[in-house]
């Protein structure tokens, strides 16, 4: 929500709890009012229908009962037939059955606020304000006395008494219900919120508790999505931290050697030459390492753009093999190319360094006088390039990790401490991915490691 919009809604309470509470409260209150109103109106009509037509008839009956002094019977009969209480008053004296005490109170109150209705000629004061649940009453002159006939709709009169209680209870129930609903919404969201705040302070272990994340509703989905996101961030940050540690370790290795070589050169003037050569090699190594780290970050961040063109793939492989043979001439390792004529479309320079990294790696772990084979084969929908050596291979569970930056299989590490710095294969993987290809490592039958690159045939021309 933009700040401007927030300002427009300033009169709405800020907390989710209060918003939900108010919204539900108002909605339920409106619904209750409307439905009660309808109920009152309809029950009022019923009242008129039941008693309204009987007034003249009732007057006659009352007169008769007064004459015969049989008011109680009439009252009982009335109760039975109409389900309502008939009260007859002469002044304040009740004839027949005594009405409940509240009737007196009510009549007294009515006298203080006389009705504004017009009276009929025959003295009929028919206050039939059905909405207000006033008892229906009329006056009767008989034998010189004035009687009041009151009909108390028994059921409705009960509501009449408890009405204030009902309203109170209703308000209480509404408050309670909307609080519960609002609480049900706001409480889990608050947990998500606190996890988000914790995360924003840098605590990547912040998670929404399972009580929220495992809910089968939108809030639960929000919670589990949040946890997923936090887990991903934590993983990435940890990976970055590990990378930083690995980089600094790799940078320190040549530095440590240089430091010792330097002291040796200072202390023994007769051997200065060989120690300076060592320092030179280590400086070169440091420079290569920094270059590799930079190109890795370039291809991994996606900042590298492919400079694509068509080129002779077999020629590329042959050149790589020749260069590698030359580089490892002192250990007389040979590199063989087995490839048909293929024209590939891609970034020649990048693919060249990607394959070079694999071949160098293979040669590094080959025995002196060994052989490395580069074989490219076209199948139905892929171009498959495999580079195979006859070295010690890699333990099965370490294979998938070979392409992680700075990861070096333990066996390889101890045997060849002069090996690479562990960035080459990571760069290769990224370059292959940029060409929509895939890469994997496996132990070849008969010993040695085989690295297989698959490129889509759409790259062939």
């Amino acid at each position: 929500m933009s700040p401007a919009r927030q300002r427009n809604w300033r009169f709405v309470p800020r907390g989710l709890f209060w918003r939900v509470f108010l919204a539900i409260g108002v909605a339920v209150l409106i619904a209750a009012t409307v439905s009660f109103g309808l109920f009152f109106i309809s029950s009022g009509h019923n009242l008129q229908r039941v008693y309204g037509q009987d007034y003249s008839n009732l007057s006659t009956q009352v007169r008769q009962a007064l004459d015969e002094d049989s008011m109680k019977e009439l009252q009982m009969q009335f109760k039975e037939e109409k389900g309502a209480t008939l009260v007859v008053l002469e002044g304040k004296r009740a004839i027949g059955k005594k009405p409940p005490s509240w009737v007196y109170k009510k009549l007294l109150r009515d006298k203080k606020r006389p009705p504004k209705r017009n009276k009929d000629d025959d003295g009929d004061d028919r206050r039939r304000d059905s909405h207000d649940f006033e008892p229906m009453q009329t006056r009767l002159v008989h034998n010189g006395s004035i009687y009041r006939i009151i009909i108390l709709p028994s059921q409705d009169s009960l509501i009449d008494i408890v009405r204030p209680l009902v309203v109170l209870a209703l308000i209480a129930a509404l408050t309670l219900a909307s609080s519960v609903i609002a609480w049900m919404f706001s409480r889990p969201l608050r947990k998500v919120q606190s996890a988000a705040r914790q995360l924003s302070t840098g605590d990547t272990s912040a998670r929404v508790p399972d009580s929220v994340a495992l809910r089968r509703d939108s809030i639960g989905e929000l919670g589990s999505d949040f946890n997923h996101m936090a887990g991903r961030i934590q993983h990435l940050l940890d990976a970055q931290l590990q990378l930083l540690r690995d980089v600094s370790h790799e940078l320190r290795t040549p530095l440590a050697r240089m430091q010792v070589a330097l002291v040796l050169a200072q202390d023994s003037p007769d051997k200065v030459g060989s120690h300076l050569t060592r320092i030179e090699i280590e400086i070169e190594r440091l420079d290569n390492l920094i270059g590799s780290i930079l190109s890795l970050s370039k291809v991994e961040s996606g900042a590298a753009t492919l400079n694509e063109s068509s080129f002779d793939f077999r020629l590329l492989l042959t050149e790589i093999a020749e260069d590698a043979e030359f580089e490892f001439a002192n250990r007389s390792i040979s590199a063989k190319v087995d490839c048909e004529d293929l024209t590939l479309f891609g970034d020649q320079q990048q693919l060249c360094s990607a394959i070079e990294n694999i071949v160098r790696n293979a040669m590094r772990y080959s025995d002196d006088g060994g052989e490395v084979v580069l074989a490219a084969r076209r199948s139905q929908d892929t171009l498959e390039l495999s580079v195979r050596d006859y070295g010690p291979g890699v333990e099965e569970e370490q294979l998938p990790r070979l392409f992680e930056a700075f990861y070096r299989a333990e066996s390889a590490r101890s045997a060849h401490s002069n090996g690479g710095h562990g960035v080459g294969l990571a760069i290769t993987r990224s370059i292959v991915a940029l060409h929509n290809g895939s890469i994997r490592a496996e132990n070849a039958n008969g010993g040695g490691l085989r690295i297989v690159i698959k490129l889509p045939t759409s790259r062939l021309r």
């Binding site: 320190r252 530095l255 440590a256 010792v260 401490s417």
Partner: protein, 232 residues
């Protein structure tokens, strides 16, 4: 010529270090991993061991633990610079000192000498060659410590720290003095080595018979070997 065992998986660095240390009149044996280091300590006991932390097969900490179960030979750990946790863990596990890597080989040689000298040092100050304080006695000739009738296995550094404390039993000894006595060097900023040696000593010594701590920390000053009043 003192015999030193160097365990480091970086062959080139090890070659250079061996060359330098040999030039400094040390006899150096080099191994490339932790397992080989443990084996070498048993088969050909050196006078001092230098352990790199990052090693294949068995890392420096594991090798340290293995060696400590059998030998009290002085050990210097090579830890990555800035990794305080490595440093503290190493000292806690019984290493005598640590060197950040990359390190100046001259400083490494100086530390080796300091530790070796102190490991064989006999205190000239007390004629009879022994220090006593209640139920603890320390013999500077045989380098044996007997506490509550138990003979204790202390590394030479721990022995030196305890020696310095007992010489001034009941008085505060500064951390710097302890560092000088134990490792032959001044305390460096953020250096927790003496604290770790004290912590290891406390574990080995236990408490006074009345349950009071034998070595107490005096904040910002140092440590004190306590002499509780006899009647308490």
């Amino acid at each position: 010529m003192s015999k030193i065992l160097l365990a480091d998986d970086d062959q080139l660095l090890a070659d250079l270090l061996v060359e330098y240390l040999q030039g400094q009149d040390f006899e150096v044996q080099h191994v490339a991993d932790g397992q080989a280091a443990v084996a070498a300590v048993q088969s050909n006991p050196p006078e001092l061991v230098i352990l790199d932390v990052m090693m294949p097969k068995m890392d420096g900490f594991e090798a340290l633990r293995e060696i400590r179960t059998k030998s009290l030979v002085p050990i210097i750990m090579l830890t990555a610079r800035g990794d305080d946790i490595d440093r503290i863990v190493g000292l806690e596990m019984g290493a005598d000192d640590y060197m950040p890597k990359p390190c100046n080989p001259r400083e490494l040689a100086a530390r080796i000498r300091a530790i070796l000298r102190r490991a064989t040092l006999e205190s000239p100050s007390d004629e009879n060659g022994s220090l006593n304080a209640r139920d603890i006695s320390l013999d500077t000739h045989s380098r044996v410590v007997v506490c509550a009738d138990n003979k204790l296995d202390l590394t030479s550094t721990e022995f030196n720290v305890l020696h310095a404390l007992l010489q001034n039993a009941g008085e505060v000894v500064s951390k710097n003095t302890l560092s000088e006595a134990a490792l032959g060097r001044k305390l460096l900023p953020f250096d927790r080595s003496t604290d770790m040696h004290i912590s290891n000593l406390r574990k080995k010594l236990g408490e006074h018979p009345n349950g009071e701590a034998r070595i107490k920390t005096v904040r910002n000053q140092g440590y004190i070997y306590t002499l509780p009043s006899e009647d308490s």
